[in-house]
């Protein structure tokens, strides 16, 4: 029971991060029907931007309030990552919109390779560690020395995720932007005819997805205290798995899928074997796509003859 509870907490924390990344995949897939392969690397870049901002604030400027530092880091990472994602869409995807279906996918793979290697070249190939922060924990249970703990940073991660999701939900459901987005998902041409600025809507979708990924990136950095140029691929695939598991195109599905993937990963590592945890993630991806391609909350696709 105590191990279970601890893994539940860890899994939900990890799942929040995956969920935030997964929203970016699901939104982009919903609106332009492409798997944005570079999204995982955008997430990794955002973690690096967070790292730089953190170092700048703590070592150069010398801010001491950890919460203030975190807030500024989040904002900085969101702004720069949003700009990056906007540029990527503009340069690598928009010219290919409406052309050959494989082209944007190849372009996205190229962009993913480009981003990872750009960071490797610019920041070096080694792991970048940060001094531990927010190390305090709340002991929830003490069972003969095995402590079930809830760390402050876990509270921060889950809290920020919930707050962001609430804001995001409002944005998509209640604002003109959200309406334009949903219209573009249904029929881009028709939306354009009715006066929706499709290009702008797609750009904003990329920016919002990247900003959520930036939050995930900063959380990831804070949680693990280390980041590497290679850290985009596997979390990216897991977040994509989350998006698929939840039903691609469905926003609540992405969050649900993220939480599930986080839980599955932690429980798998705790109870089975840690070596095969990535195999588990990839297998879930394959199994979901093969047997339940519409995911948990997605709409089934009817073949048009």
């Amino acid at each position: 029971m105590d191990v279970f509870l601890q893994q539940l907490i860890n899994g939900l924390t990890l799942g929040s991060i995956y969920g935030l990344i997964a929203i970016g995949y699901t939104m982009v897939f919903g609106i332009i029907g492409m798997v944005n392969f570079a999204h995982g690397d955008v997430f990794m870049v955002s973690a690096f931007i967070g790292l730089i901002a953190f170092l700048l604030l703590t070592t150069v400027i010398g801010l001491s309030s950890i919460f203030l530092v975190l807030a500024i880091v989040l904002v900085v990472a969101m702004i720069f990552t949003g700009l990056l994602s906007w540029t990527i869409e503009r340069v690598a995807y928009r010219p290919l919109r409406g052309s050959f279906r494989l082209a944007p996918m190849i372009s996205a793979i190229g962009m993913s390779i480009l981003l990872a290697n750009f960071v490797q070249v610019a920041q070096g190939p080694r792991n970048k560690p940060l001094p531990p922060m927010l190390t305090d924990v709340i002991v929830l249970m003490d069972n003969n020395g095995y402590q079930v703990t809830l760390a402050y940073k876990q509270i921060v991660i889950m809290g920020v995720t919930v707050a962001l999701l609430a804001g995001f939900w409002y944005l998509v459901q209640k604002t003109p932007l959200g309406r334009a987005q949903r219209a573009c998902e249904q029929d881009r041409k028709m939306a354009a005819l009715l006066g929706v600025d499709v290009d702008r809507t797609i750009s904003l979708t990329f920016i919002i997805g990247a900003m959520l990924a930036a939050v995930a990136g900063v959380m990831y950095l804070m949680y693990y205290g280390v980041v590497n140029f290679n850290d985009g691929f596997v979390p990216g695939v897991k977040a994509f798995t989350a998006a698929v598991l939840g039903g691609i195109g469905s926003l609540p599905g992405a969050v649900l899928g993220g939480l599930l993937i986080g839980l599955i990963e932690t429980f798998w590592s705790a109870y089975f074997s840690i070596e095969y945890k990535d195999v588990a993630a990839f297998s879930i991806l394959a199994i979901t796509l093969v047997f339940m391609p519409q995911g948990l909350l997605g709409r089934p696709e009817v073949e048009k003859v």
């Binding site: 798997v35 730089i52 170092l55 720069f80 750009f118 920041q123 991806l285 394959a286």
Partner: protein, 480 residues
């Protein structure tokens, strides 16, 4: 990561092109500066075991921003200038006309060049030993031509997007590595066919086995996933590729894990080892022993394997099954209405492509004589796919040209040692680091420039009066 905005900012009717161009140049310069600021302008440097320290490089960021701005300005005033749009549109057709004129000669010329390549390399580099680099490069390119042709069957003909092709390459390589180093098989063969038989013959015996095993894996993996379409199929194949690699890493008892399998027996000239001994290849043909004999032989083996791939594909395209593959790419529903069993047809494409991947894998293992999961990462799949797409899906000559361009080009990047000079980037600069960076950039750039690849037309497989090329705009890219 210098990037440019798309050139749609200048509508023909706009008054002052220079003002527009200047504004665009400044905007893109500023954006570049901002983009590069966090990760190029600052660098988190490790100082021993202590905490990270920040170093700054604002000068470099500014240089990049200015370069991008100037490039944009130049482009706006030349290629993207409103008045020039017509000529830009005319260029591809002139290119196509040129292509049409050379295309009948391209294939024989390409094949002759491939055949004579070792001779040329030896003559031009002045001897067997110095030609090593060039022949190795030829083998390397040849492997990718073969892999590209193999994947071309799946992606280019059948229209199935496979992002895990490297899995079959790995199956072939590991099958050969495990079989050829297996002690029980060696003992069995030694008992029945003589000592040293397995070391000498293992490649030739295992080659078909590796191909068949890879094809079998193609069927096993293909069966559940082939009803998926488009991007989903791509992602599942990617997942399978990664699963196979992770299993190779983690199943240490069987595959020796990340350490890989070493001391794979070298290739033999159909049983004759390339050794200095009396029973060796050199002694048998009255030559002086030279380790380069083996390398040159390897070159011809991969050439033969690639030619086999090309010929089989050519033949299959003219058979009902090949036509069914292409029809499947064009319209799956229409295929079913004509009685084509789409699952079976897709499986044959998948298995055929996998088989050639398996051959290439066995060749890889016998060439390098060492296999480890490191060699079978997703990047490898992406590279092969990029070759196929850059070549123009379905076109064999295009794929071959793309392989030469990409692999040769990446190899050239290794030799950019002039960049190490003090005034440029300093002696610490490592050009190999930039290979993948430039590779990624090139993938994006090529897609934006020519989304249909180098050769986009499709040659008809049967004709009444004349064999025509179907323009790339009509050829579909498949749904699965």
């Amino acid at each position: 990561m210098a990037k440019a905005l798309t050139g749609d900012g200048s509508a023909p009717a706009r008054p002052a092109p220079l003002a527009v161009a200047l504004k665009d140049a400044v905007v893109s310069g500023v954006i570049t500066w901002l983009l590069l600021l966090p990760l190029v302008g600052f660098r988190a440097t490790e100082s021993g075991s202590g905490p990270l320290t920040l170093t700054t490089r604002f000068g470099l960021v500014t240089v990049f921003a200015v370069v991008v701005a100037v490039l944009r300005l130049v482009m706006h005033l030349t290629v993207w200038r409103p008045g020039r749009e017509k000529r830009v549109a005319a260029t591809p057709s002139a290119l196509a006309g040129l292509g049409a004129r050379i295309s009948p000669l391209a294939k024989p010329a390409f094949f002759t060049l491939a055949l004579l390549y070792p001779l040329l390399a030896v003559v031009l580099s002045g001897g067997l030993t110095p030609s090593r680099y060039w022949i190795d490069l030829g083998i390397y390119i040849g492997s990718y031509v073969m892999l590209g042709w193999g994947l071309n069957i799946v992606v280019g003909l059948a229209g199935l997007l496979d992002l895990g092709y490297v899995a079959f390459y790995a199956v072939g390589a590991y099958a050969f590595a495990l079989l050829s180093t297996s002690v029980p098989i060696n003992d069995f063969m030694a008992g029945h066919l003589g000592e040293g038989f397995w070391a000498a013959w293992s490649f030739w015996v295992c080659l078909p086995v590796c191909g068949l095993l890879a094809a079998l894996w193609g069927v096993i993996l293909g069966f559940p996933v082939l009803r998926l379409r488009g991007d989903y199929l791509a992602i599942v194949t990617l997942a399978f590729g990664e699963i196979i690699r992770l299993v190779l890493i983690n199943w240490t008892d069987f595959t020796n894990g990340g350490a890989g399998i070493a001391s794979i027996p070298p290739i033999s000239f159909f049983g004759m080892p390339f050794s200095a001994g009396d029973d060796g290849f050199a002694a048998h043909f009255g030559l002086t022993f030279d380790p380069m004999h083996r390398i040159i032989f390897l070159y011809f083996v991969i050439l033969a394997l690639a030619a086999l791939t090309a010929l089989v594909t050519l033949r299959l395209r003219r058979m009902p099954v090949g036509r069914a593959w292409e029809a499947l790419r064009e319209d799956e529903i229409a295929c079913r209405s004509l009685g084509i069993n789409t699952t079976l047809t897709k499986l044959t494409a998948f298995a055929t492509g996998a088989m050639f991947g398996g051959f290439a894998g066995a060749f890889f293992a016998v060439r390098v004589r060492f296999v480890s999961p490191e060699s079978f990462t997703f990047i490898e799949s992406a590279m092969i796919l990029a070759i196929v797409v850059l070549g123009g899906m379905g076109s064999q000559i295009g794929v071959a040209a793309a392989a030469v361009l990409m692999i040769g080009g990446m190899e050239m990047l290794r030799n950019l040692s002039f960049l190490k000079s003090d005034w440029l980037l300093g002696p610490d600069f490592d050009p190999t680091l930039y290979r993948m960076l430039i590779f990624g950039f090139a993938m994006v750039a090529v897609m934006v420039w020519r989304p249909r690849g180098l050769v986009s037309g499709r040659l008809a497989t049967i004709f009444l009066k004349e064999r025509k090329t179907v323009s790339g705009d009509l050829v579909k890219e498949g749904h699965g």
